[in-house]
């Protein structure tokens, strides 16, 4: 079975601070990895995804994530956060099996960026 853990449940940062949100997954095979964001009152939106190739992936709004296979990690980073980045961030994994496309989510990290 696949599982995802996110280490930080609540993070508070000042504008322009750097952000790193941790994500570790557990799965015995090949995985696809995702970060989703949910802004207050809005849908879950895809920030970025990793399927193969360059382990450093860039997403929307200046976010990036690095897949480190040996550490089973896919941490999300942003060099300088803005107030508008206040949202909840979810790491998710899709294990490659013969089955469907279900996503397994982490518990989420609530990010608050203060002016």
């Amino acid at each position: 079975a696949q599982s995802v853990s996110q280490h930080n449940h609540h993070v508070i940062l000042s504008e322009a601070a750097s952000l790193e949100l941790g994500c570790n997954y557990s799965y015995g095979g090949t995985v696809n990895l995702f970060w989703y964001v949910q802004y207050p009152g809005q849908h879950l939106q895809l920030l970025l995804k990793y399927f193969s190739g360059d382990p450093l992936v860039k997403g929307i709004k200046g976010f990036e994530a690095e897949f480190i296979k040996s550490k089973f990690s896919f941490n999300l980073r942003k060099p300088s956060v803005q107030w508008s980045d206040t949202a909840e961030y979810f790491c998710a994994v899709n294990g490659i099996t013969g089955g469907g496309n279900k996503l397994t989510f982490g518990t989420g990290t609530q990010l608050k960026v203060e002016l």
């Binding site: 849908h43 879950l44 895809l46 089955g99 469907g100 496309n101 989510f105």
Partner: protein
Amino acid sequence: EPEVTQTPSHQVTQMGQEVILRCVPISNHLYFYWYRQILGQKVEFLVSFYNNEISEKSEIFDDQFSVERPDGSNFTLKIRSTKLEDSAMYFCASSLKPGQLWDEQFFGPGTRLTVL
């Protein structure tokens, strides 16, 4: 930009009642999903649906749950006899390509179900 829509945004029901949550996936998508999030907990997979049948379901998706695509646009989740523990936010999602694991799932805004 096309988006997944869900109705109602909030549903309040009495324990034991049946509820139907509705979703309109993105029009050319072929794979449909339901997830739920109990307050303070993870988003959990319930079921995936393709070609008019269930592709995969979780252990949460027991006989009280069913899904249907009654016409060319709607995708519904029915809970036959609601329990207090069914109170959650229910998210519908859709994706374009069946069986393509790099495919992106697009999520709707959710329906908050409250069972009293």
